[in-house]
């Protein structure tokens, strides 16, 4: 007599140790096998886009902090670049350099958070705390320049909220030196760990075509072998004058488009960001970083779409101005949202543990998905 078996509907989240926020997955399982996984989002929706229409441009900046709360500097950056493009403002060299330093430091912090939570998803606890130890140093630097540890509200349209504090350069330098040694230790502990490789190799494959079709961006896209980075291919700020490489999955960094490649690409991006911070720190010209515009800016009638490279991918700001002090429409293209779209496609006929690994490798932030 054939044994009658039944699929089990499993609710992963919104409260679950590894859904990285309030994500809910409706998973059907056949024993340990996941037959389908559908994400349900919206538990963190805050109407950011609609609410932004009631705020002046400068007032919107703190709200962009809360999109991808792990990379607030980068969110600020994208938004102010969009408004500046709409208004045609030129920002002084000093401010641009500090902006890039902070954005890249924030990229490092965000990728550290990724490595930490990803390793935790795989059951390793120590990399998590090691990453947080280094992230803490970055947060201290941010606290010193901006006064906040997580939601910085540091960039302004046409400049920055505050100049660098005296002596901060040395602190950043000493952090970077220490950090590079720590990263080598992390590689010993985690990157080349046999179990890590066994768990990640060939899991959650996203071929090049699928990555493009789903509109993936950032490390997710590059891990699949697409050589695209906004900072290099559509440069904003001063990225055109800086030297850096864009790590792409494939030959050098793992197989094409599996979880391990996604991890390695982010790991390699940390090194590139360190190099970018060093380049910018090397010669910061003197100047006044305070914004040279009025507090209530009135951009000319028109619309603009600017995309910048966030740690999680391209964040796009679409703004439409009717000439008043408030935008008439704000739309955010959130990288986590687009990256998450591929999740249910690659989470079929895998084991429960693989599903958690894939979810970790997508590196979502719910604040950005739900906005």
């Amino acid at each position: 007599m054939p044994l009658k078996t039944e699929e089990m509907l499993l609710n992963v989240g919104p409260q679950h140790p590894s859904t990285h926020g309030v994500l809910r997955l409706e998973v059907t399982t056949d024993g340990e096998l996941v037959t389908s996984a559908e994400p349900t989002i919206g538990y963190l929706h805050r109407c950011f886009e609609k609410y932004a229409e009631t705020l002046t441009y400068q007032q919107i900046i703190p709200y962009t902090d809360r999109l991808d709360y792990l990379s607030s500097m980068n969110n600020n950056f994208g938004f102010v670049v969009a408004v500046e493009k709409l208004m045609g403002i030129h920002v002084c060299e000093r401010a641009e350099r500090i902006r890039v330093i902070m954005a890249e430091l924030n990229r490092i912090a965000s990728h550290l958070m990724f490595i930490g939570s990803f390793s935790n998803d795989l059951g390793a606890m120590t990399p998590f705390l090691w990453c947080f130890r280094d992230r803490e140093e970055i947060l201290k630097i941010f606290e010193e320049v901006s006064g906040a540890r997580l939601l910085y509200n540091y960039y302004r349209i046409g400049g920055l909220a505050a100049d660098l504090t005296p002596g901060i350069e040395e602190k950043i330098y000493s952090f970077l030196n220490q950090f590079e040694a720590h990263m080598l230790e992390l590689d010993d502990l985690f990157t080349r760990n046999a179990i890590v490789i066994a768990r990640l190799k060939g899991v959650g494959m996203i071929p090049r075509e699928m990555a493009i079709a789903y509109g993936l961006s950032g490390p997710m896209l590059r891990a699949s072998g697409v050589d695209w980075d906004c900072r290099r291919d559509e440069p904003y700020s001063i990225y055109a004058s800086l030297r850096f490489e864009v790590p792409v999955g494939g030959e050098k960094l793992g197989a094409l488009g599996d979880c391990y490649a996604r991890y390695l690409v982010r790991r390699a991006e940390i090194d590139q960001s360190v190099s970018l911070v060093r380049q910018c720190l090397a010669d910061i010209p003197p100047g006044d970083v305070k914004e040279q515009v009025k507090r209530n800016v009135r951009p000319p009638v028109g619309e603009v779409y600017v995309r910048t490279e966030n740690p999680r991918g391209e964040i796009g700001f679409y703004l439409r101005s009717d000439g008043s002090t408030k935008p008439s429409r704000v739309k955010v293209r959130a990288p986590s949202f687009c990256n998450m779209s591929v999740f249910s496609r690659i989470s079929k006929d895998i084991l429960v543990a693989d599903m958690i690994a894939i979810l970790g490798s997508v590196d979502i932030v719910l604040g950005e998905i739900d906005r």
Partner: protein
């Protein structure tokens, strides 16, 4: 124990006052209570040790608020857990839910009785001691399956199933590895096993036979799986199954699961020490200095440290990798070791000496390999370089 009882009564001069059966029963209960309390104390110490060691590995401070250097942290935790509500999930099978922790705890505690802590301290000097330990230690899996099933929670169910599958699989290489030493020693009695390894460190089984060395590695690996520790902590895989089979347990019942885990660790390590690392022998010829139990506990502590160390360094395996490691690697290797050990058991004194040299060679080769591997991979960028 009967012997011990008689000497005790004789010392008190009470052998004629109390009937033998009553006295024996009372003493048995006292011993059992003592064992349970010791179990709790061991768990208290181990939880603190684990937190301190993990803090050291992770560059944290660890508990440091309660008592000097946080020594009473686990006491405070225990008090908290005792006073917490025991939540029973709706529609849970209440009887099974209540029974499960007790059964797991029993399974963890029963083997302690047969362990020979020194040439004098042993609660039950059983002639089938090893068999008894292996048999009773695997009782816990029933409790875990019960807990998983009775909680009316899908995560618990998955965890319970994983626990059952994993533990039943790993019993096999575990038992084969134990058998390899039993064949060499020719006894199942834990006391006699220790006595067989008297006369210095070179008499320890792990250094006496290359097959015992292989068996030792298999035993240490599979015992990690037996007690659900990383990288084999799948039944309670925190990031996947919330908390596995004990997701729905709270308060003291949850604490009992935790205590069982730590007592289980002590038991598997105690067996490892008895089988491979000389039991209560100090490592020098003659009587162990300061009493055998100190050496026994010291060796257990070293092995425990290794288990904690492994937990905080390695990630978790996937269920299919776990099973294939067991069935495709450990079981065949275990049978080879058993075969080799059986052949060695037939050899004469010269053959034994040759085998001892072979064991040291294997041990040396293993350590060298480890050393070379660490030197080769330390601080090397993966996959041909990140910086490009």
């Amino acid at each position: 124990m009967q012997e011990m009882y008689e000497t005790l009564l004789a010392a008190l001069g009470a052998e004629r006052v109390i009937p033998f059966s009553v006295g024996f029963a009372v003493l048995a209960v006292v011993f059992a209570l003592f064992a349970a309390i010791m179990g709790a104390v061991v768990a208290l110490i181990m939880v603190l040790a684990e937190r301190k060691i993990s803090a050291d590995i992770q560059e944290r401070i660890g508990p440091n608020r309660v008592g000097p250097m946080g020594f009473f942290q686990t006491v405070a935790d225990a008090v908290k857990l005792l006073t917490k509500e025991n939540v029973l999930p709706r529609k849970a099978d209440s009887i099974l839910h209540y029974c499960a922790p007790t059964l797991v705890f029993t399974g963890a505690l029963l083997p302690v009785a047969a362990i020979a802590w020194s040439n004098r301290i042993v609660a039950a000097d059983l002639n089938i001691g090893v068999l008894y330990v292996v048999g009773t230690a695997s009782l816990g899996v029933i409790g875990r399956l019960m807990a998983g099933w009775a909680s009316n929670n899908k995560w618990s169910l998955l965890g319970g199933m994983r626990a059952a599958g994993q533990m039943i699989s790993y019993e096999i290489p575990n038992s084969i590895a134990i058998l390899s030493v039993i064949v060499l020693a020719g006894t199942l009695n834990l006391q006699e096993l220790s006595e067989a390894q008297m006369g210095g460190i070179h008499q320890w089984f792990v250094f006496r036979s290359p097959f015992a060395f292989v068996a030792c590695l298999i035993y240490l690996l599979s015992s990690l799986a037996e007690v659900n520790r990383t990288p084999f902590d799948l039944p309670e895989a925190e990031s996947e199954l919330v908390s596995g089979y004990h997701t729905e347990y709270s308060g003291i019942r949850w604490a009992i699961f935790m205590m069982s885990e730590y007592i289980g660790m002590v038991v598997v390590n105690a067996v490892a020490v008895a089988l491979f690392f000389g039991g209560w022998n100090g490592g020098l010829p003659g009587e162990p200095l300061l009493g055998g139990w100190i050496w026994y506990l010291l060796k257990i502590a070293v092995l425990m440290y290794c288990q904690v160390w492994i937990r905080f360094v390695l990630p978790r395996l996937r269920i299919d990798q776990l099973m294939s490691l067991c069935w495709k690697n450990l079981v065949p290797l275990g049978f080879l070791a058993l075969l080799g050990a059986s052949v060695q058991a037939l050899l004469g004194p010269t053959g034994q000496r040759v085998m001892m040299v072979a064991a040291w060679l294997v041990f040396g080769g293993f350590v060298t390999l480890l050393f070379v591997a660490v030197r080769k991979t330390r601080h090397v960028p993966a996959q041909g370089g990140f910086s490009g």
